[in-house]
């Protein structure tokens, strides 16, 4: 089993906690209490490695840090994103301002984490409020605007709805696959060496019995 640390960042009330709860508990509340400080949750997913001969799925465990959105909590953020493997930077597609806040987060991550393997995913939430066939379309951030930015910055990009669940699982699935890919390449390049000396930024559960250790025999 692989373990990856993932952190959610973004402006207040864009839906960070709702996304996590949709992913971890598959539930949604219209009004969720404001997050104070931080919350920690975990969830596992399965990855099918198409390139390998193994027919068994690989299990990935996400350790998720959900954070408070208000500006003043920003000073605590380095504690969350320290050693993170992936960051979900969330904005609210009905609030233009939340995109610029998300962009600030992307800059901060790039400046302060300085880890090229850190996967940053830009995530537009509240897609359920943007039904173009309906008069009630509240969209304020055009998909293209965010998409162009994400491409420039080399970020993953999705629009999701925590309320309906649309797209949420896919986000975590594709992040998981990408992290697995990075991990695998890393292990291949360090073939023969002990996995424990693999790159710092990746967490591998090391103290498992070696029979469960995917690094012990497969390569």
């Amino acid at each position: 089993m692989f373990q990856f640390k993932l952190v959610l960042l973004g402006d207040s009330s864009v839906g960070k906690s709702s996304i996590v709860h949709r992913f971890v508990k598959d539930s949604f509340d219209d009004f969720r209490e404001s997050t104070i400080g931080a919350a920690f949750l975990s969830q596992t997913i399965k990855i099918r490695d198409t390139s390998s001969d193994s027919t068994e799925d690989t299990v990935i465990k996400f350790e998720i840090w959900d954070t408070a959105g208000q500006e003043r909590y920003k000073s605590l953020a380095p504690m969350y994103y320290r050693n993170a493997n992936a960051a979900l930077v969330v904005y609210d597609i009905t609030q233009q301002d939340s995109l610029s806040k998300a962009q600030n987060w992307v800059n901060e991550l790039k400046n302060k984490v300085g880890d090229e393997d850190l996967i940053i995913c830009l995530l537009g939430n509240k897609l359920d409020l943007c039904d173009s066939s309906d008069n009630g379309d509240k969209r304020a951030v055009m998909t293209d605007e965010a998409k162009v930015y994400a491409e420039e910055q080399d970020l993953l990009f999705y629009e999701v709805s925590a309320k309906t669940g649309q797209g949420v699982k896919d986000v975590f699935q594709s992040i998981g696959e990408k992290l697995y890919q990075i991990k695998k390449e890393e292990m291949l390049s360090k073939k023969g060496r002990q996995a424990a000396s693999a790159k710092d930024s990746v967490n591998v559960k090391l103290q498992r019995p070696s029979t469960n250790d995917p690094t012990s025999c497969c390569y």
Binding site: Q3, K5, S34, I36, G37, A39, E71, R72
Partner: protein
């Protein structure tokens, strides 16, 4: 957003005329809060009635409110009435369930206690309206709610668990209330229709009574009394209304412009405050938002105008929200002022330094009083080197005061919201009872008690961590393995500490198992100790920060740094806004910036203090009563004590 703003303005206009009526009464009758309450204008309209015995007065104020606010439609009227119905269900008659009430009668009759008998009678005499309403409204609608309107069930506790516990605890509450009544009678204090607003003078006995729980329907009054709220209100007559006026003006002016950031964030948090509480919910058929939400908005916005240095900080919504369940708006406002200045100084400030300081203090306390828990929390090794070059300061052992362990991300919220949303409601309220009677050290005591109680769960989840801590401290480890392992076990500990308090449904678990146990070391902790710890940690963090800045930027303006640090420290330690507010000045912002510059002037006089504090900053903080493991030079200690005494006098002169 514009829609929200519009609503805000409506809210104010609706309440304005009433407020103005109310001020005269409140201002003239400073001593008798009772009169102010009965005239009822500022009462949060949907506040539950377990603390509001004079329901007649309450329901009279309600129609007035309706007449004033909207002659426009009947639907709205209906909505508001439906709130009354609900209130009735949560009201005092239902406080301990009917079945329990009858037992209460038996109990009191057995005791043949005149005083309590009277009160039971008067309870009933006072609430015919309520019992009527209750009959109209079938209990099934609200049986999933507790007596404050919160859902009994949540992710951590089932309805069955709740009911099972409540059956006993409600009996306990009745017994305690009976004792309180006797105590009041003995002290010659009036019961005032089961809403006493004066309490016995401080004593060990009263402290024990408070710790065993203040009767729910007295809590608003008791908190107000113990926190000396009336003093504050009397000093600042009319200020709350001025702030509301200012808010009104501001919203009118800003309607078309971009709203202020604080107001915007307040707006987003209103519906995210107790979404599980019926008083904060808007039913789908309601056009207007619940009165409680309007009150919450006014309290929070007024506060952000009153103290721009704090403005609005997420978590204050929960503080204000809980206060509003127990007292009227103006009182809730002043209690919020008192909490954020006296009990939690600096905790909600823009830089959150106060909360970091308190987490440092908590970590020191854990290390001192819960050495068995410390290994779960302590950093296993020093992180990247801080002491670059020739290190003047050796921060080694105190590094955790600056680089706080991850668990503090969790415990920070315990302090910011004073356990609201962290502990189940009845347990939270018991902590609040003690907080207002015993001051802020009780928050630390409660935190330590929770950590102590979590020990078994920690051990179950992570027995090897403790072992590893000791074996690794011998220096025999591979650093990369270690960091990975450390991260992982930190997460596991975090998860335990995060969810453990949510299961503490029975307040007596904390009190009987820890707080009342005389032999438990952490009960030696007192306010003086916490005050000293706070000063120590503040200074340590500042030294560390200064040092990093100096080393980081290769600048050596030591004097400037010290001045800065003093300014910031004073900023943090002074009960600033509390004092500013007492000057009855119209322009609050000017007032505050003025006071801030005064403070800087003062800080120059205090450079000497920094030297004192540096001398005080021994490598390890010395807890007063337990000196085991403390390296403390007694001659320095004595010297420092004298210097502090002198400084204390100087400060008095200065202030």
């Amino acid at each position: 957003m514009s829609v929200d703003i519009l609503r805000t303005t409506e809210g104010i206009e609706q309440h304005k005329p009433l407020m103005n009526e109310g001020i005269g009464v409140a201002a003239e009758q400073t001593e008798s809060t009772k009169v102010a309450r009965n005239s009822g204008p500022r009462k949060s309209p949907s506040a539950p009635n377990f603390h509001e015995k004079t329901y007649a007065g309450h329901s009279m104020s309600e129609p007035t409110l309706l007449r004033n606010c909207n002659g426009d439609n009947l639907l709205n009227l209906g909505d508001n009435l439906s709130f009354n119905d609900r209130d009735a269900n949560l009201s005092v008659i239902n406080l301990y369930d009917d079945e329990v009430i009858s037992r209460q009668m038996d109990d009191f009759e057995d005791n043949n206690d005149e005083d309590s008998q009277q009160n039971v009678d008067s309870d009933e005499g006072n609430t015919p309206t309520m019992s009527m309403l209750q009959n109209n409204c079938n209990g099934s609608e609200t049986e999933h709610l507790d007596r404050y309107g919160f859902k009994k069930q949540n992710n951590f506790i089932t309805v069955e668990e709740y009911n099972k516990w409540w059956k006993d605890y409600s009996q306990y509450c009745i017994r305690r209330k009976h004792k309180w009544k006797l105590l009041l009678a003995k002290s010659g204090l009036p019961m005032d229709n089961d809403s006493p607003n004066r309490f016995p003078s401080r004593s060990e006995k009263l402290k024990r009574y408070v710790r065993k729980g203040i009767p729910a329907e007295w809590r608003g009054n008791a908190w107000w009394y113990f926190a000396r709220g009336q003093e504050k209100l009397t000093k600042n007559k009319g200020l709350y209304d001025k702030l509301l006026q200012k808010m009104d003006d501001l919203l009118k002016k800003k309607k078309k412009k971009k709203p202020m950031q604080d107001l915007d964030i307040i707006e987003r948090d209103l519906n995210r405050t107790f979404p599980d509480n019926i008083h904060f919910q808007r039913e789908t058929f309601q056009l207007d938002e619940p009165p409680m939400i309007k009150s919450l908005r006014r309290v929070l916005v007024a506060f952000s105008l009153y103290n721009p240095k704090i403005g609005y900080c997420q978590s204050m919504n929960f503080l204000a929200g809980l206060l509003l369940l127990f007292m009227d708006e103006e009182k809730a406002f002043w209690m919020l002022v008192i909490i954020t200045s006296r009990y939690l100084p600096g905790v909600h400030n823009v830089n959150l330094e106060g909360v970091n300081v308190d987490q440092g203090v908590l970590m020191l306390c854990v290390k001192e009083y819960l050495p068995e828990i410390w290994p779960f929390i302590a950093p296993l090794h020093k992180r990247s080197p801080i002491n670059l070059g020739n290190s003047k300061y050796n921060f080694g052992k105190n590094e955790f005061l600056y680089r706080l362990p991850p668990i503090t991300l969790c415990t920070a919220s315990w302090f910011m919201s004073c356990f609201v949303g962290v502990l189940p409601i009845e347990t939270t309220l018991r902590v609040w009872d003690c907080l207002f009677y015993e001051e802020s050290h009780f928050l630390f005591k409660a935190s330590l008690a929770i950590l102590k109680l979590s020990e078994q769960t920690l051990l179950k989840n992570r027995p090897q961590r403790v072992l590893r801590h000791y074996s690794l401290s011998n220096g025999n480890y591979h650093s990369k393995d270690l960091r990975i392992n450390q991260d992982e076990s930190e997460m596991e500990v975090f998860q335990v500490i995060q969810s453990f308090p949510k299961h503490l449904i029975n307040p007596n678990d904390i009190f009987d198992k820890v707080i009342f146990k005389k032999r438990v070391a952490l009960n030696r902790l007192d306010q003086d100790e916490i005050d000293r710890c706070r000063k120590y940690v503040t200074t340590q963090r500042q030294r560390y920060k200064n040092y990093n800045e100096i080393v980081g930027s290769n600048l050596h303006h030591d004097d400037d740094e010290i001045n800065d640090s003093n300014a910031q420290k004073n900023d943090l330690l002074s009960n600033g806004p509390q004092d500013y507010g007492s000057i009855n000045n119209e322009n609050n912002e000017e007032q505050i910036s003025g006071a801030a510059s005064d403070m800087k002037v003062n800080s120059n006089n205090r450079i000497g203090n920094d030297l004192v504090n540096n001398a005080l900053s021994s490598e390890v903080y010395g807890f007063k009563k337990s000196l085991s493991g403390v390296h403390w030079n007694n001659s320095i200690k004595e010297k420092v004590r004298q210097m502090r005494k002198k400084r204390g006098k100087d400060d008095d002169v200065l202030l």
